[in-house]
């Protein structure tokens, strides 16, 4: 096992704990936007797709990565926008926009 892998595993283990801590604090009220918002975050695979699509010399790899890039961008753009649209609707009593 090389040092890089140990480092990655450390980060992974800490992120698991942090993830469960953070998510368990999100109220059920916001679980749908939580889901679509984290979903957009999983679109971070877009950076992997950019790396492969932008640097590979193989036609096949470029094609695979290009499709991945399109899918990941849909995930990112669609996810963040739809989450924003939902969160905009949550208003407190008497707040502006509340006819």
């Amino acid at each position: 096992m090389d040092a890089e892998l140990i480092g990655s595993l450390t980060i992974f283990a800490l992120a698991v704990f942090l993830g469960f801590e953070l998510i368990s604090r999100v109220p059920t009220l916001l679980h749908t936007p939580l889901m679509s918002g984290t979903n957009a975050i999983s679109g971070i695979i877009v950076v992997g797709a950019i790396l492969v699509a932008g640097s590979s010399d193989s036609r096949l790899e470029q094609t695979l990565a290009f499709v991945a890039l399109v899918l990941a961008t849909i995930n990112v753009v669609g996810g963040f926008l739809v989450t924003d649209r939902m969160l905009e609707m949550f208003r407190r009593r008497g707040a502006e926009g509340d006819e």
């Binding site: 899918l71 995930n75 407190r92």
Partner: protein, 466 residues
């Protein structure tokens, strides 16, 4: 093409920044007042990660990258803008599938690039790339089936056949064998049957799960899409991917457990429940026959107008009838008469975790009127009228006191503790679980039959003229 290129270290620092943004963004989701900015903080992190990746010296095929980004944005943005709030589960299913598919493709491309290199690949890279291809493939096809079911392109009913579990196990075994073969031989070819088997398994995994259990399925697929991202992060040694994917995996896992608990079932039961399902003999437990009391909008209006506290219990039937706005008008009318109005939201009231809150928020219901189950249940005894609109199983007292009932053990809203109950219902058909609801035969319950939207509109008029 660009005049400058940041070093790999600088780009890795940008990824750390992105990861911190994701963590902060989710932290800000813990309150509805900061949630919107939280989402923007996450998005900003993403933008930084993408922008810095583009500056890497090895990324030089800009036209291809730009075309991919543009095409993705052109497809994603209008979908996000136009999708109906009732269709949010389908949208999230598709987005899960896109993320999982992207991870599977990136992992496959990496395997294709790395496999023929001289020398053995590090074991972790091998395992991670094959795992990413496998989980990503399952997520992609499973999400498409979930989408088709939710969109009612195919029947929402469980699809079962003989020896289904054996067939599923066999397909999964084929996928795993292909992965082992790919790992041992480092032959590119093996990825093709691996992904193929993963796609087939994704379909088989979701088809036996019924429409009512879709909230759990979406949460499971959400977790999978995160995990496939984590695996891809290990392949690319990319910490932003590992952290981002893990946060999503944690979110999907927690929501899965929460949804299963809200249905009073184990995750295994939801996922494998359709197999060997025991048919519920109709009318064995609590039969509701002629004993229900029908009422009229005028009578209900009087009850509501002179009540001190009214709790509205919305179910998915309300969303199907598009009655959210009418319900809100009714609540406005009652509040004008100084009635305290609250909404009791069961965790599985909609088609995905938290769905009902979004649907009511869209109808301009203020979120401080939305009460989750654990918060509202102790208060039902002081409630004058509980108004049940399009909800059934989540109000069924049999879940609490009849061990023989198929929904026994499922946490419910204690509507029957209220002083009186009014149920708006199209007809006496039983709910999702196909069982009778003794609440309807309770002497303090009155039934207002008809389409929810029509009934609520009639109530609004009737309350106005009380």
């Amino acid at each position: 093409m660009v005049a400058f290129a940041f070093s790999e270290n600088t780009v890795n620092l940008a990824y750390v920044f992105a990861a911190v943004c994701f963590v902060f963004g989710i932290k800000m989701l813990s309150s509805p007042t900061t949630a919107r900015w939280g989402n923007r903080v996450s998005a900003a992190g993403m933008l930084v990660a993408v922008a810095f990746t583009l500056t890497l010296a090895e990324v030089d095929r800009y036209w291809l990258v730009a075309a991919g980004l543009a095409l993705g944005a052109v497809l994603g943005a209008p979908a996000a803008r136009l999708v109906k709030m009732t269709a949010m589960p389908q949208m999230v299913a598709l987005l899960n599938g896109a993320g999982g598919g992207a991870a599977a493709l990136v992992a496959s491309a990496e395997f294709h690039r790395l496999a023929p290199l001289p020398g053995d690949l590090p074991a972790d890279t091998l395992v991670a790339s094959l795992a990413s291809a496998l989980i990503g493939g399952v997520t992609l096809s499973g999400s498409i089936v979930a989408f088709a079911k939710l969109q009612e392109l195919v029947s929402g009913r469980p699809v079962t056949f003989q020896h289904q579990q054996a067939a599923n196990a066999a397909v999964l075994a084929v996928a795993l064998l292909c992965a082992v073969a790919a790992g041992l031989t480092e032959e590119r070819f093996w990825v093709v049957p691996l992904v193929g088997a993963a796609l087939v398994f994704g379909v088989l995994f979701v088809i036996p799960i019924g429409g009512a259990d879709m909230p759990v399925v979406i949460a499971v697929l959400n977790a999978f899409s995160g995990l496939s991202g984590v695996a891809a992060g290990f392949v690319l040694d990319n910490n932003a991917l590992i952290i981002g994917g893990t946060l999503v995996g944690a979110s999907g896992t927690l929501l899965t457990l929460l949804m299963a608990r809200a249905m009073g079932r184990s995750v295994a039961n939801v996922v494998f429940g359709a197999f060997g399902q025991v048919a519920v003999a109709p009318g064995t437990a609590a039969t509701v026959d002629g004993a229900v009391r029908a009422t009229t909008p005028d009578d209900v209006a009087v009850m509501l107008a002179y009540a001190k506290r009214v709790v509205i219990v919305p179910g998915y039937g309300l969303a199907v009838a598009q009655a959210q706005h009418d319900v809100r008008k009714l609540a406005d009318e009652l509040e004008r008469r100084r009635v305290d109005v609250r909404y009791a939201i069961h965790p599985v009231a909609g088609r995905m975790p938290g769905h009902m809150n979004v649907l009511l928020a869209e109808a301009n219901v203020p979120y401080d009127q939305l009460y989750e189950m654990d918060r509202i249940n102790p208060e039902f005894e002081q409630v004058d009228v509980a108004l049940v609109v399009g909800a059934n199983d989540v109000t069924n007292p049999a879940a609490r006191n009849e061990p023989g009932s198929p929904i026994y053990g499922m946490p419910i809203l204690d509507v029957d503790h209220a002083k009186s109950v009014v149920v708006l219902k199209r007809s006496m058909n039983p709910g999702f679980a196909g069982i009778d609801n003794p609440l309807y035969a309770d002497p303090k319950t009155a039934m207002l039959f008809g389409d929810a939207k029509v009934s609520v509109a009639a109530l609004v008029d009737a309350v106005k003229s009380v």
